[in-house]
């Protein structure tokens, strides 16, 4: 296609075919998880168990977005932990203060 135009300055420029199977697989996983969240929102009564299910599903979605789309799964271990450890503490704070908020009331 366009490679004919500037073949003069890079004759070896052959564009490989796209490798998108993993990307679309991740997309379908995210879509199906969101659909299930919707179903749960209208079928289960609002209580602590439902909050826990939502939080768990959100963390699974976050795993796919960060791991596949942001490519963190394929980085070196040190980088993975450097990002993950502070985040784990933050999630702990979030859960802890939701719980504590219930006791304030």
């Amino acid at each position: 296609m366009a490679s004919h135009g500037h073949s003069s300055h890079s004759e070896e420029k052959v564009i490989p075919a796209p490798q998108t199977a993993a990307i679309w697989k991740t997309f379908w996983i995210l879509l199906i998880l969101t659909a299930i969240e919707f179903i749960i929102a209208f079928t289960l009564p609002a209580n602590g168990i439902r909050v826990a299910i939502f939080a768990g599903m959100t963390i699974v979605k976050a795993f796919y977005i960060v791991g596949e789309f942001m490519h963190l799964k394929h980085e070196v271990k040190t980088l993975i932990w450097a990002i993950l450890i502070p985040t784990i503490f933050v999630v702990w704070l979030l859960i802890a203060l939701i719980y504590e908020g219930g006791h304030l009331y």
Binding site: I15, P18, T34, T58
Partner: protein, 252 residues
């Protein structure tokens, strides 16, 4: 140039003088990761505040069908967010926010397709997918503008609105009072979705910049499309934050 060459050839000598990449990621990508980590803290602060305040307030105890807006109990989100553009008077709880979520996840997919095209040096494909990502970003921003406008106007039927201390229905939402529930509800809505929307906006600006640089052939001349990856990280992060906002603000 020779120093770059030496880094791969004689790593031992340069290990402690900046010659090696211990995390096997470029400086720019690492800095983007650590910026995103710090941004995570900011968003977490907002979500932690939301969780704390929401659960320290009176919850609605009755059945879902009989729910009514009042400043003394926290509203059920699917009773507040139930309108869809062009469908007047139709109750469609959370449908519009579901569409917004889908738009943002899909624009994340087109972004990762642009990154993949960049790895192959396929300029036409990068342009195509960046353009779709920009369109997705603008669509999301437009949807959010509609959502805000609808939220600020309040329920069309004033009989549904929460009452103030004198028993009059509250018209329109602001930072002081709102027709849905305690003042903190609207405050948190404005701060959390507003802060996220600002991120989406700056993401769209960055995406336009990347699209422009791709179209003018800058990354072709540079020989790599790493900038697409770096901005891609930011864009995925914005999507990631929305996944959390969607769960904690709209579903829980």
């Amino acid at each position: 140039m020779s120093a770059l060459h030496a880094a791969s050839a004689v790593p031992e000598k340069l290990t402690w003088s900046g010659g090696s990449e211990p995390l096997k990621a470029s400086y720019g990508k690492l800095m983007m990761w650590f910026f995103l980590l710090s941004d995570t803290f900011t968003f977490s602060a907002l979500l932690v505040t939301y969780g704390m305040i929401r659960f320290s307030q009176q919850a609605y105890e009755g059945v879902h069908e009989k729910f009514f807006f009042s400043t003394t109990h926290w509203p059920i989100p699917d009773k507040v967010f139930e309108a869809v553009p062009f469908l007047h008077g139709v109750e469609a709880p959370l449908v519009f926010v579901g569409i917004m979520t889908f738009i943002l996840i899909f624009s994340s997919v087109t972004m990762v397709l642009a990154v993949e095209a960049g790895h192959r040096g396929d300029r036409a494909d990068v342009e195509k997918w960046m353009l779709w990502t920009i369109i997705g970003g603008f669509t999301f921003l437009g949807s959010q503008a509609w959502e805000w406008s609808h939220f600020i106007h309040g329920p069309e039927d004033l009989a549904l609105a929460a009452k103030d201390a004198l028993g009059n229905p509250i018209e329109g939402a602001n930072l002081v009072r709102n027709p849905y529930g305690p003042p903190a509800f609207a405050d948190l809505f404005f701060f959390i979705t507003g802060f996220h929307g600002t991120h989406v906006f700056s993401g769209v600006v960055l995406n336009i910049l990347i699209f422009f640089n791709t179209a003018t052939g800058l990354y072709d001349r540079r020989g790599h499309y790493e900038m697409v990856e770096k901005v891609g990280l930011y864009w995925h992060f914005v999507d990631l934050v929305w996944v959390f906002v969607f769960t904690f603000f709209y579903l829980v």
